[in-house]
Symmetry: C2
């Protein structure tokens, strides 16, 4: 396992993902409490909220209150999500508290773009050009390309590595047109189609073309293969992962009612730390934050590690 | 991924594991219905019941009714579990319906043996000698060695590959003393300590000493790493796995309240089939059997794949 990275960066998306999908209203104070608990675990990247239409996503009607309310911890980068200029404008009000970088977000499946964004490939490229220009006009660099549905699609079926490579090329071309250097390329298993074999093929194809790009994996655990897929990424030396504490979030697709969403941060941390890959995160503090998240949402979360716990206490007792 | 096996054998333990741990009484007819549903999925090995003391395990007071009641399907091997001569005697009444092979079961952790079996290493070896003799006296061959706590232990902490090798050697010595050939060596992650790295080290050490032995992995998903561990086994060419439909069973250790037990059969099947490793099992029929198991026990089971489903319907719709 010689390609395993010595350390990885985890991008925690639990607050944003989790509180977007939960049925009941969650108090802003609870959202802030979870963010502040997470910043005490050693996590260095936390996505705290989503500046989206309160009509479309009622769970984030209080994005401003949350962005204003958390206690920034030195060394932790807090970020937020937005999808259009209205969202960008709202986020800019917090640019002193948020780490702001623009993203170029495309889908490797045109069927997915049509269904979810009502845009074909060309329309999506055009939208990302406008969005990139808007970011630059606001003084926000665009340093990230994200590819949705990079491992398969509920509407298009299997996605080839060549489709992913083409989509990355589209994104890099938009960045280049605007003079932006991409330093973060995210491949997302939006609908849970990845397997370790598919991770190897897609990462291999993208790396073969752009060996200098730092890859990030955004993995879902829709069918229980999420951590095995993360392990496949680790074996390839991929050192950046998105995840959510407790597996907060769930799957937004109707066909997967009750399925997990993102991989659980504490499962990823245990996987890594138990194999000597440093995450900088205290697993027990993170598990405590997961239990806080469960109390806030009022139900158990999908993470097995929240119940199984870490191995530290057993080792200490056995020693 | 050149060492991946072309096909694997799955040993389904859901009926035995699941109905042992559930709180409420489960009707014998329901247990039988699940066994018969499983035999219709392509599964070729099903552990149907446990001949244990009804005082210690009330959930298996009806082992005889279940063993007598299922409908044997040609090509499917049905087996049962027992731990002593009283259990063996009860199982023998069904030798025309059950595939009967004796096991030599040892723990790589002496602390685990002491806590769970009230025997030290020497005492356990002695007990297995007596049990092996009892099987042979009844005309039942002893073809299997099983090593519990092969990847770590809640009481002893980390377990070294050398401890596992020593435990396997103990088991093979007992078999040899009785003229029995071992054709199945099972390494069990009884308390959920395995990682892909530990799987590689332990399997490597055991294979280095006994390259001819067919290995089987019995993996738990206590901390969410079970399927990643199975994937590590597949990469090493290990072609036999225990699992339970839906993840039936749960973890019997008090420190892991609510944690999953065995890896879920349908997650293992999806992992394999999606990578071209044949299991002989129809994933959708298996998922239907998992939903039947959930109706029988009256609650959801830990398997994500029961909610995420297979990819077959999406592929068919996209085509």
């Amino acid at each position: 396992m010689s390609d395993l990275p010595s350390h990885i960066e985890i991008f925690e998306e639990g607050p944003r993902e989790g509180f977007q999908i939960e049925a009941g209203p969650i108090a802003s104070a609870d959202k802030i409490a979870l963010i502040d608990a997470l910043s005490g675990t050693g996590i260095r990247h936390i996505q705290i909220c989503s500046f989206v239409s309160p009509r479309l996503v009622p769970g984030w009607a209080d994005a401003e209150a949350v962005a204003a309310g958390f206690t920034p911890k030195p060394g932790v980068a807090y970020n937020a999500l937005w999808f259009n200029e209205a969202g960008l404008k709202r986020a800019l009000a917090f640019r002193d508290r948020l780490s702001m970088t623009g993203s170029i977000s495309l889908a490797a499946s045109e069927a997915f773009s049509r269904r979810n964004l009502n845009r074909d490939r060309a329309g999506n490229i055009e939208a990302m050009r406008r969005q990139t220009a808007a970011h630059l006009a606001a003084g926000i660099p665009v340093g990230r390309v994200g590819v949705m549905a990079a491992f398969g699609c509920n509407f298009a079926g299997d996605i080839t590595p060549e489709q992913v490579v083409q989509t990355v090329a589209d994104g890099l071309a938009i960045a280049a047109e605007h003079g932006q250097a991409i330093h973060d390329l995210s491949l997302a298993d939006t609908m849970g189609w990845a397997t370790p074999a598919r991770i190897e093929r897609v990462v291999g194809a993208v790396r073969g073309r752009w060996p200098e790009l730092a890859l990030r994996l955004h993995l879902h655990d829709t069918r229980g293969l999420g951590i095995a897929n993360a392990m496949a990424g680790l074996r390839l030396g991929v050192a950046r992962y998105d995840s959510t504490v407790g597996g907060l979030g769930g799957c937004p697709f109707a066909a997967h009612k009750g399925a997990p969403g993102n991989i659980a941060t504490e499962e990823l941390v245990l996987l890594c730390e138990e194999m000597g890959i440093a995450t900088g995160i205290d697993a027990d503090a993170l598990i405590a934050a997961g239990h806080l998240a469960e109390r806030i949402v009022g139900h158990t979360l999908p993470s097995a590690a929240l119940r199984g716990g870490s191995l530290a206490a057993f080792r200490a007792r056995a020693a």
